[in-house]
Amino acid sequence: MKNLDSVFAAYVVGWGVFFVFYLTIAKRISNLRAELDRLKNTLPRAK
Amino acid sequence: MPLIESRCRFCTRALRDTDHDPRVFLNTRAFLLRSRGAAQTKLTVDQNKLSPTGLRFESIEKRYGGLYALRRVSFEISPGECAVLAGRNGSGKTTLLRIAGQLVRPTTGKLSFPRGTPDATGSARPGYVGHSTMVYDELTAEENLLLFARLQNVESPVARADDLLREVGLYERRASLVRTFSRGMRQRIAIARALIHRPSVLLLDEPATGLDPIGITWLANSLRDLNKAGCTIVISLHGESEISALATRAVRLDAGNVIADTKTGASLRDILVYGAA
């Protein structure tokens, strides 16, 4: 089981990068959605 | 009367005998006189010789991100008109002129030039005078004009450049770098550059900027002559001046919309000055 730590680290870091990337996107999407809703309420013309 | 002199001052097209006006013949002198506001030269040229071209804006829209510079602007300027665009700062005058000059690409909509589309062969392409001089500071006045004459395959560029330099009163300074010019002189060279290829449509964006009263008189007279020679002119202006007196058409823009458009004298002045139709 030589190098298990390296293999483990590689997978964890790799997945970590993708996960963090996804998290930032999801967070920005939810922020934008809130902002969009707020604007749409102030602007009755837009549906 | 030497025949060689009987030419339109801007396009060097021969004038018909019936069009002879003795005051045109001494170009430089005539210019000097007029620039002092002393003489009003009247010039009539056969309009058909300039192949008059109009301008048609069809629901032109220009958007910068979410910001509308122009919203569905549609109107037509007929050949030979002298149209004035009025409106506050940021109302879209410059954008409209730059679209007409094919410098800015409209987001949607169509620009056309009825009777002769602009193509590579010169004169149908609009002449454009913008906020900047659009000439090189590091070149002399003559070199600048020669550069643009050669780029547009103007016939005998040297003679053409010299003619225009005389016309705008910069012949004595032709060998000086534009860098050394005053604001008014720069405006004159900018106008000369726009005219170098004998355009049948001339677009001017606040051309009076930087000109003294004498210069404004000179510009108004030159534009009148060009207009009479069949050149379609579109000017953006603020307020009333000698130049606005030339207008046969006034269009007022506000926040990218055409809010008033008239051809008749009385309301024309209202649109220019007050923005009401």
């Binding site: 030589k2 190098n3 590689a10 870091v13 934008l32 | 910001l67």
Partner: protein, 227 residues
Amino acid sequence: MTKRIIFGGVAILLVIAAAYAAFFIAPEERTMGLIQRIFYFHAATAWAGEMTFFVCFVANLLYVWKRQPKYDWLSVSSAEVGLACITVVLITGPIWAHPVWGIWWTWDARLTSTFVLWLLYVSYLLLRTLVEEPDRRAMLSALFGIFAFLDVPLVFFSIRWWRTQHPQPVIMGGSGSGSGLDPTMSKVFFFSVLAMHMLAAFLIVERYILEKMKSELDFLAREVETQ
């Protein structure tokens, strides 16, 4: 909404399954041993990243041709996802290399050209932050994206032909030539490639939705302003 959740779920399941396969199904590599199991993740991510950059290139071309904002959204999304993939490749690479070669980094052709690729797309995204006006930004970055993508093969071959001191055994030659690879290994590998492509596609879709909402918001904000 539900479609997106299903898509994301499938992508994540595939990635987990690929990891499982890499650890428990694929046979142990003879010389490198356990450490070689990084390969399934590392190389599959690299393939997905390259594919994503290709998508970005196509979107750039389409933008220049059609000038529709959606292609701009697609190109920025795929560039970012591709950059994430290549970042993972650049991180897992040294982790793999260190126990095998004894060094973290070597200026070998593959590593160097991947690094240049990464730099090119970093500057692509940097350019995007520095142009204010959306249409101009879309057009300029599309053009730079095209130049960058054209540069990629040139970078790769120039480095491969002139900069490699020690040519080393190629693990995966050009596509299709899975020479020397055990059949189970290649099955696991291609499964991993599929999984990473799914993940990349899912991320691109999410990023695309974000970009679309951004431009909607920009539009609405202007509307409110003019009211």
